[in-house]
């Protein structure tokens, strides 16, 4: 079981705003819907479902399975201003690799929230003994790439003209990996 006893956790941003971090619950559906509608198109390109459709958001929010998909929300007042999601496979050869996706509301960027969310996911990844965290980012999202690199992620590969946005335009995909402490233990002990 992934330990969630650190939540709710309150953090300060660079503008002194207080934000509460906690796992998403089914009652967050309305807030999540509003949050997703604020995001630029490029930030929504990775979703498997069309999150511009309310039923897709309902399905995501109302059936949480934290062992497979753990969305941590950043909430300012009663508004969702960011999400960090840790995706895990319960079985199989990638069960010790966690995939990270972080979304920040446009008006809450450059305040340190993205970095704080990376720190949260890194902490959770350590707690469930993952070997690697993996982040996939479209190359144009340079702020995200730099923030991930500053937090210990390393560029593993850049796939040229690899993924398409929702209008069909191709983009380079940057894959970044973060080795975790359990990997070091497995290699050296």
């Amino acid at each position: 079981m992934i330990p969630l006893d650190r939540y709710p956790k309150e953090i300060s941003l660079r503008d002194d705003a207080r934000v509460v971090l906690r796992p998403m619950i089914p009652e967050d559906t309305d807030g999540l819907w509003i949050f997703l509608r604020q995001l630029p198109e490029i930030d929504k390109a990775h979703f498997h479902d069309d999150v511009d459709r309310r039923e897709a958001v309902d399905r995501w929010a109302k059936t949480p399975d934290y062992e497979a998909v753990l969305p941590i929300l950043a909430i300012r007042g009663d508004r969702i201003v960011g999400t960090a999601t840790l995706y895990r496979n319960k079985t199989g050869w990638k069960q010790r690799i966690g995939i990270v996706r972080i979304l920040i509301a446009p008006d809450h960027r450059h305040l340190g929230l993205g970095t704080a969310m990376i720190r949260e996911i890194r902490h959770l990844g350590e707690k469930v003994a993952l070997n690697y965290l993996m982040a996939e980012v479209i190359e144009e999202q340079q702020s995200a790439v730099r923030a991930l690199e500053r937090m210990g992620f390393e560029k593993a590969v850049v796939y040229r003209n690899f993924v398409n946005d929702r209008k069909g335009h191709l983009h380079n995909l940057v894959v970044l990996l973060h080795p975790m402490s359990s990997l070091e233990k497995e290699i050296f002990y």
Partner: protein, 155 residues
């Protein structure tokens, strides 16, 4: 002269000032969590060893300052459950040892820089656990003889 509050040598007032109007020293780190670690980090961050005209003495000083900083971080981490920070501290120590205490040259500089970056990340982890934003040396640049502050974008 080292500040009695944070323990490092910084200006007594921002902007190369030597004293407050009342003639007393003031400390920009007073009251902030992890005062010693933040000040210790910035002393190295803005240190002479990064300048073009740095001498081997500047490098040796930076090495020993980093050694003290990492020891301080290790003490702070003893009571915290942050595995990622422990891993980064280990990497910082490794980079510091690779740089060596009396080594010059670009490689030593690079490893000292790596060690300092890891240290910065661990200080950020400690602050995050307390619900605080990461430490930004740029906020304290006016208190040091800092020529140019590298731009650090936050996300």
């Amino acid at each position: 002269m080292n500040c009695s509050i944070c323990g490092v040598d910084h200006f007594s007032a921002p902007g190369r000032g030597r004293a407050t109007p009342a003639g007393e020293r003031s400390c920009p780190y007073q009251g902030v969590p992890y005062t010693g670690l933040r000040a210790g980090h910035d002393q190295i961050y803005f240190g002479r060893w990064r300048r073009m005209d740095a001498t081997s003495i500047d490098l040796q000083r930076a090495y020993h300052q980093l050694e003290r900083l990492l020891n301080g971080i290790a003490v702070a981490l003893e009571t915290e459950d942050i595995p990622a920070a422990r891993l980064d501290l280990g990497k910082a120590v490794e980079a510091l040892h690779t740089a060596g205490p009396g080594e010059g040259g670009l490689e030593a500089l690079r490893y000292l820089d790596h060690a300092l970056s890891y240290a910065h990340r661990v200080i950020g982890d400690l602050l995050h656990e307390k619900g605080l934003p990461p430490h930004s040396p740029a906020d304290f640049a006016g208190w040091y003889d800092a020529g140019e502050v590298p731009f650090r974008e936050d996300w």
